[in-house]
């Protein structure tokens, strides 16, 4: 299975060097890849249909427990077949739809990458591996949404989509890590056996929240749904493939996968039912107000995703059967509707419902495809959509006495919206009179109208023979999702019962809504008045506020004033040091250890302090420099007192040279420090900060003085200076022998600074010169 997944990835890599051969109509041959994969998965139908699960495991990162573990069970087979099957049609369709596009090869590259990633998601048996592929789907979606990269709107939509799904992804990751931590494994196979531990853990609600964030953002649930309509900026094949049939269902897939692990608790059920319910009603209503064909379809997709979330939340056997069936039904008719929309857009140049009518006269096969898809979406008997809808009602009716009525009402009303939306997208553009400007519309090539037609017909074929799907796919899928054994048959006809009544009501009401709800620009305008109350607006506003805060914060912290940086560093150090000093308690001084003061030492220190005062307070640059040099010489004298002749000579010469250097440089600087620096409060503040720093250092020094010193190493030096290092001046021996390495690189430092000074003075690049 690893190879199966990697095939797409390899193809996409090969397209980088070989892309130029696939920019023409030849690209249609690339559809052999998904077709082959479809055949591969189809060949497993009977085996998996019998309730078997195929496992495969390869080592990858065992230290983290992330291995290339894959499983092929009913659920993954269902999705794999959708991904590769619809993929094949999309690949064929796109070769014609984007014919002559200069980046057609890149498009296929991303599409292959996406297909790989999506297969990876559904086949993974390890949740972190699943996450890996999950992120890859987000990334490939980003590239596909932004495929028309010169359009600003495309780029913005791509960024929004990546932002929303990316953020959800990080939450999901955190959730998965917590699951792994609680259960001690990342393998789904093993997780299923530790359900009880996870559900009873105190962090279970947090885990649930994090996983839901991932699923909801990906599957466009309210209030994160807003990226999906934006994602319709992608070329239509992408909308059909990623944003209705497969990728957005990854969230649903995730919920389904986690049903046996996390599901079944009240938290799980109610959250999903509420969120799913809100999503389907909200999006169902919205879809009726749209006049852009893709807009209608986007919102109806969101509504369907809501329905699916709702069903998984319901979690009964009936609900799970309904969800599995509905996933297939929706994928078939929605992909078909998208493709039809794409053809209309491609041939007429518009997707505005208000401008489209009568197209059946020029695009007859497309009209058939659209009608079949619309009818399936409406749930007409004999269509697969009918079976899906039936099962939904069955599930809601079986939900328990208190809930059944409410849930059924919600489901029916959402479905009414879906029926109307399906008619609007699949039938409306084709009926009525053909406007004059559309008379010249030509039939496209077969590669472009066959795929939707195939999907439309398939909807009715499967609808007439539901047993195939039911036995081979749905039943193993539900087997995976629910714990106890499930026995059921998908049937066309359930007899005259409540469910049939509800179905009929839905279709009739949907048709009525369709007839009374004429698409008009005024409605879109009406809807725009509520823009300020949508989640999208709310997120935009918060993001804007977040950016403004970031801007303010960054400018506040990094304000350009060196002294404010330095004072923060010093104050931070002071806080930590004072904390430790206070923790250390009072300081005791052992006076007996100290050396007595002699007069000349005292005088020297006094001179030093005087020079220090002068340096700090003077306003003349020269005086300040002179003050510093006096300090240097006084220190030099101190070294003489305390038996450091080498230091004394070095300090003396270095001090002299520094002064000479300063004088050279100050030569052409004004002699007074004219910068206004006299703000009293600042001086007091700096004085306090500096003073406390000095006090802290003094206290630290006193504390350290109380610690008895070890002299092992310096005694070693004294002992062996002559016998081993052949010298009598130990300081020099230390410098050139014991610690000669320090000296070696110290002269390197000196050399670098000389080179630096040289280049600093001599090299003056103009701004026009290159880096």
């Amino acid at each position: 299975m690893l190879l199966i997944i990697l095939l797409g990835l390899i193809t996409s890599c090969l397209l980088v060097p070989l892309g130029k051969y696939f920019r023409s109509g030849r690209s249609v041959f690339l559809s052999l890849l998904p077709a082959g994969l479809f055949a591969y998965f189809a060949s497993h139908l009977s085996h998996i249909g019998a309730g078997n699960i195929i496992y495969e495991s390869n080592k990858w990162v065992p230290s983290l427990g992330i291995n290339l573990d894959f499983r092929l069970d009913g659920l993954s087979l269902l999705f794999s077949l959708l991904i590769t099957g619809i993929g094949t049609l999309i690949f064929i369709y796109a070769s014609s739809y984007l014919k002559g596009h200069q980046y057609l090869d890149r498009f296929y590259g991303y599409l292959c990458l996406f297909m790989s990633a999506m297969l990876g998601v559904v086949l993974s048996d390890n949740i972190l591996l699943l996450f890996t592929f999950w992120e890859l789907t987000s990334i490939s979606s980003f590239f596909l949404i932004g495929f028309n990269n010169d359009s600003t709107v495309s780029r913005k939509s791509a960024l929004t989509a990546l932002g929303v799904t990316g953020l959800g992804g990080f939450f999901l990751l955190a959730g998965m890590i917590m699951i792994g931590e609680i259960a001690g494994t990342y393998t789904i196979r093993e997780l299923v056996t530790s359900t009880a531990i996870i559900r009873e853990h105190q962090l279970y609600p947090v885990v649930l929240g994090l996983v839901f964030m991932g699923a909801f953002t990906k599957s466009a649930q309210f209030p994160f749904h807003f990226w999906l309509p934006g994602a319709m900026k992608a070329p239509t094949p992408v909308s059909a493939y990623l944003h209705s049939a497969t990728m957005v269902k990854a969230g649903i897939f995730l919920l389904a996968r986690f049903t046996p692990i996390l599901g079944g608790t009240p938290e799980w059920s109610y959250t999903l039912m509420i969120v799913g319910g809100i999503t389907m009603l909200y999006a169902g209503v919205h879809s009726l107000f749209r006049t852009d064909l893709k807009g209608v379809l986007a919102y109806s997709t969101i509504a369907v995703l809501g329905v699916l979330t709702f069903l998984i939340g319901l979690g009964t056997k009936e609900a799970l059967i309904a969800a599995s069936t509905f996933i297939i039904a929706h994928a078939l008719y929605k992909a078909s509707l998208f493709l039809v929309t794409g053809i209309i857009d491609h041939q007429t140049g518009t997707r505005e419902l208000t401008q489209l009518s009568g197209l059946r006269k020029v695009l007859f096969p497309v009209f058939i495809a659209g009608t079949l898809a619309a009818l399936s979406s409406a749930g007409l008997p004999l269509s697969f959509g009918f079976i899906g809808k039936d099962l939904i009602y069955e599930a809601t009716l079986a939900a328990g006495p208190q809930l059944a009525v409410l849930l059924t009402i919600v489901a029916v009303s959402a479905n009414i919206g879906l029926v109307a939306a399906g008619f609007m997208a699949g039938i409306k553009p084709f009926i009525g009179n053909l406007p004059a400007q559309l008379e010249k519309v030509k039939m496209p090539s077969a590669a472009i109208w066959l795929p939707p037609l195939v999907l439309g017909i398939l909807g009715f074929v499967l609808g007439s023979l539901p047993g195939i799907v039911g036995d081979y796919i749905i039943s193993p899928t539900v087997q995976v999702l629910s714990v106890e054994a499930v026995e059921f048959k998908l049937k066309i006809w359930h007899g005259f019962n409540t469910v049939l009544l509800l179905s009929a009501t839905t279709i009739i009401a949907g048709t009525i809504v369709y007839f009374f709800n004429k698409p008009a620009i005024s409605k879109t305008v009406f809807l725009e008045r509520f823009n300020r109350y949508t989640p999208h607006y709310f997120f935009e506003m918060s993001w804007g506020a977040f950016k403004r805060f970031s801007s303010w914060y960054t400018d506040f912290m990094h304000n350009g004033y060196l002294r404010s940086y330095l004072i923060r560093i010093i104050v931070f150090a002071e806080i930590l040091l004072v904390y430790e000093l206070i923790r250390g308690g009072p300081i005791h001084i052992d006076y007996s250890k100290l050396i007595p003061i002699s007069i000349h030492e005292g005088v020297n220190v006094l001179i030093l302090l005087g020079a220090l005062y002068l340096t700090v307070t003077t306003t003349s640059r020269l005086t300040a420099v002179v003050g510093t040099s006096i300090i240097g010489y006084a220190i030099c004298l101190m070294f003489v007192f305390y038996s450091a002749p080498d230091l004394a000579i070095t300090q003396f010469t270095i001090d002299t040279l520094t002064v000479v250097l300063f004088v050279f440089v100050l030569f052409n600087l004004p002699s007074f420090l004219v910068i206004p620096n006299s703000n009293k409060s600042i001086i007091v503040r700096d004085g306090l900060v500096a003073g406390s720093f000095g006090i802290i250092l003094s206290l630290t020094a006193i504390k350290v003085l109380q610690v008895p010193t070890e002299k092992g190493i310096s005694e070693f030096y004294g002992e062996f200076a002559y016998s081993l290092a052949r010298g009598k001046n130990v300081v020099n021996i230390v410098l050139v022998d014991f610690r000669g390495f320090d000296t070696m690189f110290e002269i390197v430092v000196l050399s670098i600074s000389a080179l630096g000074v040289y280049s600093l003075i001599k090299l003056k690049l103009k701004t026009s010169e290159k880096e």
């Binding site: 980088v16 080592k59 990162v61 230290s63 983290l64 890996t132 992120e135 890859l136 990334i139 980003f142 932004g146 010169d150 791509a158 960024l159 990546l162 932002g163 990751l173 955190a174 890590i177 931590e181 950016k547 805060f549 970031s550 801007s551 914060y553 960054t554 912290m557 940086y565 330095l566 923060r568 931070f572 150090a573 930590l576 904390y579 430790e580 250390g584 308690g585 630290t700 504390k703 003085l705 610690v707 070890e710 190493i713 014991f738 610690r739 390495f741 320090d742 690189f745 110290e746 390197v748 430092v749 670098i752 080179l755 630096g756 040289y758 280049s759 600093l760 090299l763 690049l765 880096e771």
Partner: protein, 500 residues
């Protein structure tokens, strides 16, 4: 044990620089020498790395004085890994410099100083003596001053003044710390210190000393609230220089922090809280800054800050898993950040600016280079299975396991903002049409094919390194796992150095 091989990775750069100093006007020869030197350095460090990986810790007593009396060089897995990464980065940058740095700068000692800088880094990673470490730090600091100011543009000088002031302050803290440590233990050898520090009666002084090092190295590693020098200066020098800075300089500070706070001072509860707080605030500060900057290099500077927070937080958690994550993150970060600054240089070569508003159209014009860059960008973001993902996994796991939810949340926020700004960068720089009102200056087209290769090759080398790290995560994890073990149990280190 006499093993001069340890120091060979340092000496090769010293002698490369010295030969280049003798040939001051011969820029072509310098260029070739530089690449050759880096290549030899790379081979030596690979050899050393394999040796340490297969065997154990190696030491070298400089001047043949037994530790703790002389200066000792210690090659344990941590230091050798850092040396290896440095040499990879150095190789890439030296190749890039051949085209990316103008001849004027080469005439004034660009290459020798670059090699001194690399030498300083390697020396700092390998030394086992705190004062010697100070000397290496100074080598690094002074070379970076010179490289930062080389060219003397206004922005460069402005950045350099701030960089200088704060880095010298860092050295002051560091040196003060050394003075105190010598005062209380009478030794400068790290292994010896590791044995003597726990025996000191008044541990309060030890904690006090630790803070001096914390501040000193904290400034070097650009953590909140000590990071200011980084965004003030990293956008100013040539991109080749910025690449070394961005990839390696802050990592030196981090290396020192990890070395000191695992070997000498094991963080107590207070220090753990300090590190964690620093980690969280650093991540946030970097993320906020990166979000609003529109100049590529300014944005990258803030991203460096943000990601240093990840690493510091790992030190704050101070358990094996977190340390593995932190070290892994450093490994990943060195490769990617170096590369990103080189990429910024390439973009500037392609378009003559680094302002995202004025950039565009690279994807249409140079699709293959764009894809190469995309790999690097998404490695930085940590899209699985690329290199940034794994360490984040460790850190997140450790954070959640230890109930450090603030840290975990900030990792998520930091990662998200990284994702967002990188996607924005891609969309602005690569996707957007080249703006028409601006005259696009493409200095890249005019280059000869060989010179074009010299610019793209280093980026490809580093991208391959990132890919290797990402796809071969198991190997890196095994290495970092051993490093983390060495950090937690320091007896092998002290035994190797002191022989007891």
């Amino acid at each position: 044990m006499i093993d001069n091989q340890i120091i060979a990775t340092v000496l090769v750069h010293l002698f490369t620089a010295l030969i280049q100093l003798v040939l001051p006007r011969k820029t072509v020869e310098q260029m070739i020498l530089s690449i050759a030197g880096c290549l030899i350095g790379f081979l030596l460090s690979v050899n050393l790395f394999i040796k340490i990986l297969d065997g154990g810790i190696l030491t070298m007593n400089a001047a043949n004085w037994e530790a703790p009396f002389g200066i000792v060089f210690v090659a344990d897995l941590f230091s050798v890994t850092m040396v290896l990464l440095t040499s990879v980065a150095a190789l890439a940058v030296s190749i890039f410099s051949a085209v990316g740095v103008g001849r004027a700068r080469m005439l004034y000692g660009y290459f020798p100083i670059f090699h001194f800088l690399i030498m300083g880094l390697n020396g700092a990673f390998l030394t086992g003596d705190i004062f010697n470490l100070y000397v290496w730090f100074e080598v690094v600091i002074i070379s970076s001053f010179v490289l930062l100011t080389l060219g003397g543009r206004k922005a460069q000088l402005e950045g350099a003044v701030k960089y200088m002031a704060m880095n010298i302050l860092a050295s002051t803290f560091f040196l003060t710390g050394i003075g105190i440590l010598y005062g209380i233990t009478g030794t400068l050898n790290m292994a010896d210190l590791a044995l003597k520090i726990p025996l000191i009666e008044d541990q309060n002084i030890v904690n006090l000393t630790a803070i001096f090092f914390l501040i000193g190295f904290g400034i070097k590693s650009a953590v909140f609230p000590l990071y200011f020098w980084l965004p003030s200066s990293y956008h100013t020098p040539p991109s080749a220089v910025a690449a070394v800075f961005g990839g390696l300089l802050t990592k030196l500070g981090l290396y020192a922090l990890f070395r000191f706070f695992t070997l000498l001072f094991v963080p107590n509860e207070f220090l753990k809280i300090v590190f964690l707080t620093i980690g969280v605030t650093t991540i946030l500060t970097g993320a906020f800054g990166a979000l609003i900057k529109t100049n590529i290099r300014r944005m990258l500077s803030y991203l460096i800050v943000c990601h240093i927070g990840f690493v510091i937080g790992g030190l704050g958690l101070y358990n094996k898993m977190a340390l593995v994550g932190a070290v892994f993150y450093m490994i990943h970060d060195i490769m990617v950040k170096t590369n990103l600054f080189l990429i910024a240089g390439l973009i500037r070569q392609l378009r003559g600016t680094m302002n995202m508003g004025k950039l565009g159209g690279i994807y249409a014009e140079y699709p293959k280079i764009s894809l190469l860059i995309a790999v690097v960008l998404f490695s930085l973001v940590g899209i699985p299975p690329l290199s940034g993902f794994w360490p984040k996994l460790f850190l997140l796991e450790s954070a959640l396991f230890n109930h450090s939810y603030f840290y975990a949340a900030s990792i998520i926020l930091g990662s998200f903002i990284t994702l967002f700004v990188i996607a924005k960068l891609w969309s602005e720089v690569f996707w957007k049409d080249a703006s028409l009102d601006e005259m696009v200056v493409d200095n890249f087209k005019a280059l000869k094919p060989g010179r074009k290769t010299l610019m793209v090759l280093p980026i490809a080398i580093l991208a391959c390194a990132s890919l290797f790290i990402g796809l071969n995560a198991e190997f890196i994890i095994q290495v970092t796992d051993r490093i983390a073990n060495e950090m937690i149990d320091t007896t092998p280190y002290t035994r190797a150095v002191l022989g007891k």
